[in-house]
């Protein structure tokens, strides 16, 4: 863009687009503290501001419990994925054992298998196991991920063999090699897998809607979705928006501080998929 005018048009255009991305969020946060009658106004000014909507929200649904549940589920399954998928990735990348090629192909196969196929059978399984309305139903199906294994495998393939040989001569077992030598050198991939998996679970709404009925076990996306559709909000937009705002705020705060990691992680995982 050597042309100066072109450059200015681009900047103004980008500014307008950026505004269209930021303003709705800003508007949402402000709308939650406006009086109900003034919520629909386009601007941010109101005759008064109050936290009434949040009070009503906390009265109607156990949303803080949902926040806690979301946190428990996302943290547990992410830790599980980091540990068990790096085990599998290490085995596939660095250890020769019979059936390795077959297992690698199985993993690739599960990645192309559309989730629509196994959604209902998985639910039926949860019923048979007696897992409906348990944390197990929310966590265990996400306790490993084929994609995470492949990311770990790819990363571990690039590590020098000398590292492993030296560690083995020192008498380290494979678990020690993985966790004490490979892990400290694998921060980029641990961060990538961690963020991508955590965000995926944190935002997942369909699966909880299927396996959870008990309000005390619901995750945030599920509870807010049900609240918005089930009429508990009694058509009060302010209360519905408060629920959405409460769900958005932690993510926005974390994103502001760690945006570089978020963007890089999601870009890497997108390009490798």
């Amino acid at each position: 863009m050597t042309n100066r005018w072109g450059k200015w048009i681009a900047i103004v255009g980008m500014g307008l687009v950026a505004f269209s991305f930021l303003y709705p969020f800003l508007w949402m946060f402000v709308a939650t503290i406006k009086p109900e009658k003034e919520i629909t106004e386009v601007g941010l000014l109101a005759s008064q501001y109050s936290l009434d909507n949040y009070r009503v929200l906390l009265d109607r649904i156990p949303i803080l419990r949902a926040l806690l549940n979301s946190f428990i589920v996302a943290v547990t399954s992410t830790v599980s994925v980091l540990i068990f998928c790096s085990l599998a990735g290490y085995a596939l990348a660095r250890l020769r054992f019979p059936g390795r090629g077959l297992i690698h192909n199985l993993i690739l196969f599960t990645m192309v298998m559309p989730f629509q196929l196994t959604l209902i059978p998985l639910y039926v399984m949860m019923v048979k196991f007696g897992w409906v309305d348990t944390y197990a139903a929310l966590i265990l199906p996400y306790s490993m991920s084929a994609f995470a294994i492949l990311l770990f495998r790819q990363f571990f393939l690039q590590m020098p063999q000398d590292l492993i040989d030296a560690a083995r001569i020192d008498g380290l077992g494979e678990l020690s090699i993985l966790f004490r030598i490979f892990w400290p050198l694998s921060k980029p991939i641990l961060i990538t897998v961690g963020i991508v998996h955590f965000m995926g679970i944190w935002n997942e709404a369909l699966w909880p809607l299927i396996v959870i009925r008990d309000e005390m076990l619901m995750t945030m996306p599920q509870m807010v979705a049900l609240f918005a559709v089930a009429g508990q909000a009694e058509g009060q937009f302010g209360v519905q928006l408060s629920a959405a705002a409460l769900m958005t705020l932690p993510v926005v705060i974390v994103f502001v501080f760690l945006q570089r990691y978020f963007i890089e992680s999601m870009a890497t995982s997108g390009l490798k998929e």
Binding site: V124, E174, V252, G270, L271
Partner: protein, 299 residues
């Protein structure tokens, strides 16, 4: 993985030990695969030949579910709706993302601010975004119609007319996801050497000529990824219509996954819901395969 003095290990012993360690380390995945991939897969092939309403035993149904599927107008409507969504959403996504990425690739100020801004909706929950947009889309009091009114444009029935509802959802989904694809395209663009552009400029090429003849060919692989990812995303459309319209008006936003959900948890017809899932999976794989073939031939 006990300590073994290296001096006492034979080469054969080493290989054996390695194989043993390999089996132990992969074991958790094998268990996971059997329970959460293999079993549901096999079970889906059993379920589609049965009726089951959660209570009581499986009832043999033969080919009933398939016969019903073929003559089920709602099923076909849900497929057409999903394809309609993809037909709007995917091209829109690719064009907007590519345009924004191309501008971000130039030397403009505040690039990382723009990048982060476009990415923000990607990390925010789809439910939160949908609840927010439900308000923006409202026909009487929504922000969009109020802004349009400033320019004397008549109210658009964003979600309340069968013609507009699905395109509206596609617009929202593009706003929600485009940031991810901007980043992917940007990564692709940064691999194009500056010297190529400089050489083209010396030959007097304008912005469009450079874009058409240098940028587009260079990022073709990324286009393939973006096409496939956003198509897969399109086929999993669920939470947006669930929250905004519950499939209406007149079933115009009933997506494939939403229909599975309704059959399973509205009518408790697990066998039939599984059959829709199987059909949808076959369609997904077919479309992605065709896309791949088509794009590869373009190269």
């Amino acid at each position: 993985m006990k300590y073994v003095d290296p001096a006492t290990r034979s080469v054969g012993g080493l290989a054996k030990q390695e194989a043993h360690a390999g089996r132990v380390l992969i074991a958790p995945y094998i268990i996971f695969f059997l329970i959460f991939s293999a079993y549901p897969l096999i079970f889906s092939l059993i379920l589609v030949f049965h009726h089951w309403s959660i209570v009581g035993p499986l009832e043999w149904a033969g080919l009933d579910n398939f016969a019903e599927l073929i003559s089920d107008e709602l099923f076909w409507k849900s497929i057409v709706n999903t394809l309609f969504f993809i037909a709007i959403h995917v091209p829109l996504q690719v064009v907007v993302a590519l345009l924004l990425a191309a501008i971000l690739n130039e030397k403009i100020p505040a690039r990382s601010f723009f990048r982060a801004t476009f990415f923000l909706p990607v990390v925010v929950s789809g439910v939160a975004v949908t609840v927010l947009w439900k308000q923006l889309f409202s026909t009487d009091a929504g922000l969009f119609n109020q802004v349009l009114a400033w320019f004397d444009i008549a109210r658009v029935p964003w979600l309340s007319s069968p013609e507009w509802a699905m395109p509206s959802i596609a617009i929202m989904a593009t706003w929600k996801n485009v940031g991810l694809y901007v980043i992917l395209f940007l990564a692709g663009l940064q691999n194009v050497p500056r010297s190529q552009y400089e050489a083209a400029e010396m030959d007097g090429a304008g912005w469009w000529a450079k874009f058409r003849h240098i940028t587009v060919p260079a990022i073709n692989p990324v286009v393939v990824i973006v096409l496939i990812l956003s198509t897969l995303g399109g086929f999993s459309l669920f939470i947006e219509p669930y929250v905004l319209t519950n499939g209406g008006p007149m079933n115009s936003t009933l997506s494939g996954v939403l229909y599975i959900f309704k059959q399973a948890f509205g009518f408790f017809r697990m066998g039939y819901a599984a059959t829709i899932g199987l059909a949808l999976a076959v369609i997904v794989l077919t479309v992605v395969l065709i896309q791949r073939k088509f794009v590869e031939r373009e190269d």
